[in-house]
């Protein structure tokens, strides 16, 4: 039996903070607190488990190990008290999967209508996986996909199905 197109791994222990605000106003504070440069439109900055993603013209996503979350959350709230901004811990509302392997892109191309060829190493896409919302970006040897906690099982099943052995997209 051939191998799966990619390994699907559920990632635990990650924290997420949703920030809303005018980016030019909240940007400096967010960069200061996180030590990560403000991402441009549709980009994600930072490295490893600490990243800052552009979600919309007035929304950022801050990703970090959950252990670091309370301090960062407090620092962001403190730093933004005098500005019109919304800072929320959304860690529990989300699920994360990593798609790792040579054919990781094939797995995602079966589920998301995004043009993956145009997704660079520092891009973040808000898209969907089949019938559920999903955002993703490239990591080493694959993609990191975030979705909603309530549909975590659905998303996991989709990813496993899409990685079915022998189903790579290259013409045969």
């Amino acid at each position: 039996m051939a191998e799966a197109l990619a390994t699907i791994r559920r990632v635990e222990g990650m924290g997420m903070i949703t920030l809303r605000g005018a980016l030019e106003q909240i940007g400096p504070v967010v960069s200061d607190v996180t030590g990560i440069a403000l991402p441009e439109c549709r980009k994600i900055t930072g490295a490893g488990d600490r990243q800052l993603g552009w979600m919309s013209p007035d929304e950022l996503l801050c990703v970090m190990p959950v252990a670091d979350l309370p301090a960062i959350l407090a620092a962001l709230q403190d730093g933004l008290t005098d500005r019109h901004a919304l800072v929320l811990d959304m860690s529990d509302a989300r699920v994360i999967y990593d798609i790792i392997g040579a054919h990781a892109e094939d797995v995602l191309a079966k589920l998301s209508p995004a043009d993956l060829g145009a997704v660079g190493s520092d891009d973040l896409r808000r898209s969907r996986a089949a019938q559920t919302a999903a955002a993703f970006w490239r990591i080493e040897s694959g993609f990191r996909v975030i979705g909603f906690r309530s549909t975590a099982d659905y998303l996991g099943a989709l990813l496993h199905n899409a990685a079915m052995p022998g189903s790579q997209l290259a013409p045969r």
Binding site: D58, K110, A118, T151, M164
Partner: protein
Amino acid sequence: MTHTPPFRLPSGGRLIDRAFQIPFRFDGRTLRGLQGDSLASALLSNGQMMMGRSFKYHRPRGPVASGAEEPNALFGLGQGGRFEPNQRATTTSLVPGMALKSQNCWPSLDADIGAVNNWLSPMLPAGFYYKTFIHPRPFWKHVFEPIIRRSAGLGAAPTEADPDRYEQAYAHADLVVVGGGIAGLGAAVEAARNGQTVVVLEQDPVWGGRSPVDHPEGQARIDALLADLRAMPNVTMRRNTMATGLYDHGYLLAREALADHDPQQGIPRQRLWRIRAGHVIVATGALERPLSFACNDVPGVMLASAARDFIANYGVAPGQRIVVVTNNDDAYRTALVAHDAGLDVAAVIDARNVADGDLPQAVRARNIAVLTGSAIAKVKGGRHVEAVVLCDQAGDGKPTGAIDCDVVAMSGGWSPVVHLWSHCGGKLLWDKDQAMFRPNSERPPLGGDGRGNVTAVGAANGELRCAGNLERREAATRPVWCMPQGAPYKLRSKMWLDYQNDVKVSDVELAAREGYVSVEHTKRYTTLGMATDQGKVSNINGLAVLSKALDQPIPATGTTTFRPPYTPLTLATIAADARADTFQPLRKTPMHSWHEHHGASWEPVGQWRRAYCYCAAGEDRHAAVNREIKAVRQGVGTLDASTLGKIVVKGPDAGRFLDMMYTNMMSTLPVGRCRYGLMCNENGFLMDDGVVVRLTEDTWLCHTTTGGADHIHGHMEDWLQCEWWDWQVYTANVTEQWAQIAVAGPQARQLLQRLSGSFDLSQDALPFMSWGEGEIADIPARVYRISFSGELSYEIAVPANRGLELWEKLHEVGRDLGITPYGTEAMHVMRAEKGFIMIGDETDGTIIPQDLGLGWAISKKKTDYIGKRAQSRSHMTDRSRWQLVGLESLDGRVIPDGACAVDEGVNANGQRKTQGRVTSSYHSPTLGHPIAMALVRHGPERMGQVLEFPLPSGEVLKGRIVDPVFYDKEGSRLNG
């Protein structure tokens, strides 16, 4: 003459491998074909020319074509869950062990009882059904429809679930070339050299289209193009991939057959590609048209191109003695191929008066007779061609001779495959010289920039001679829509246009006589082109006949609409992975698994699954609901309320914003307090409700209904982004961040105090409609004193990841209190006992808060809120609007939900007038009798009156109008 062996030629067949014999089963018989055969060629190689029965007259039919346009050779393929009806023998590759079953015949293909229809055919003209099954009226439902339904459809539907997997995939390319023939491959090379990303799709397993068969150097030319393309990294080439439809903005769907030939290998059987193409090149070639002569449907009459395909591709002799009949030069290729394969070509019958192109010359050079100005008056033979009767094309069919033969290879010219071009708006023009509709390059389908995003090339563009210097000199085609030209009715009533649906020249003429002028209407009246082949070989011939009957030029008649898919697409491929556990997203709360392990009987609420109730061993749902309600009313219960929408609204203008969103005041809500609010749409209708919580000076938390969470969040953002873009407000949907548990019942406080430590949950510290923050069971929690059951109740929100932990802890420490999980139905009954409304039960999109006695929740002080203006319209302030009341059933039976209260008299349709309807109805275990809520005209003013509710059975239930609050009217239980 009879059809005689050998059917497999001693040599030739570019697609077959004679070293590998393949056994297969056909109607229970074991036959053998060769590696590379199509089902059609394999059957022909066994002498099986008859491959089906037509739909209406059950006439014997053989293959007409060799490709996707085949109307006759359809089979039921496979067994059990893999059985598929209407599989085209000409495009299905033979694989070992395949099982074919013939269709539309009983008891067998050879001896078919239904063939009696053939003798009745004079009584079954076009529109027969419409004319016959009208009277007597009652017969339609009970007699005609069941009979027609039973005889409708060719193949039988499979009865078992499909065991195979299917998938979809997305792709993006600068250019997609549809068609891997000489024109498509040439266009792909050119585009790829210019640096574009190119995808080339070919429906067949082999590249090349017609060139390898039609031109001696064709294969070499194709091979050279393929070598070029394979060397370029920006080119993707997919065989076995049929472009099914082209939609707006260059959205192209294509079906790739991955494992059709071997479904057992454990990979997806088919894949549906959803491609965004910057530009599409349609290089789909052309389809040959039959000629309309009498008995042109006898097995053995086939398209000239099909006859030479069977010989050249599969080394199969369609017959031993061939007659070619044509109106063009191309068909002469069939005479050449057949002759060179050692078959006897009796004659070429050419309707044109002159045939002197290169190909006719080459045929004459082989001493084959070419009869110009000639026609076939009639084909002889029933189950197989035996001979043709000749006549003059210019005459009325008077016989001039006959030729014995077992195959008639016909060609009425070619029609470009313009389907994709036409799917999203490309226009066609009539090319008089070639007698064909072809793409009008001036009016292509348009892309988002208003420019053409599709180009047709090669034969698909009407350039039939598109092989460049491989082509030979050809003379013009002569349009022949009826052979012979002056054929009388007797002959015309045996000229088939649509083979599969049995539509003849005479049927289309009859439709015209009966007043049909639109080609679309004629199509539906006669069923021309409505079979599973969608009229690929019949449409143009049919509309030409219609034009003649209407005495108008063909372009004035026009074509019917070309709709996707080009060839049938199985539903499994369209559904793909949306099946079984991935049929649709199933939303689960953090406590989902607990519910599952504790007997939850599920109820779908949007995409969530909520526990309707928890059935104990031996208990039915009704008993479980009653038990749960009693437990809450007498002790304590827990409800998983995590699905309720939770939207955070924050900013300097948040209060002002919420005052617009809700009918009541939210800006004045003190920090630490909760308030029930109503949300209406612009038309004033009640849309959602829920408790709003003031978290901080500038932050509110809005609870919505379960189903309303996403919609209300979108509604808020809509107003903020489009109307009040300068208001400083941010919202966030935090529904899934929190697990929420309602702890309700007289012992709720006692239970929670076992876990709340220093967090003071007393009546003084946390009165009704307030909230506090602290720790419950060492979990950070927000506790809201709100109640939907009427009991002392706390809703506890904790981070979702700790929801299950809290739920389990509550059940652990509450065991001695009889803590009971309760589901949505107990919640519904308890809220109805209290007269609380439910969005979707008491509301249906036409109800305003005032109808529900909720006027108290509408602020009189506010200058505006969404829906305010609409609620002042005359119809909204009409005193006779139906209003909410309670109902007490007089005889102790539950009045069905939705039952109407009848009034005196009847309306314009003769129906009883109504004056109200039941919106919620339950048996109340608390009260021991049924309770109901209803909307009734002048309801609140009619307390004590009795309404009548007739049931479909004829029985009439009676209900007395009462106050909608049935239980604890004073609300004393709220505080425990």
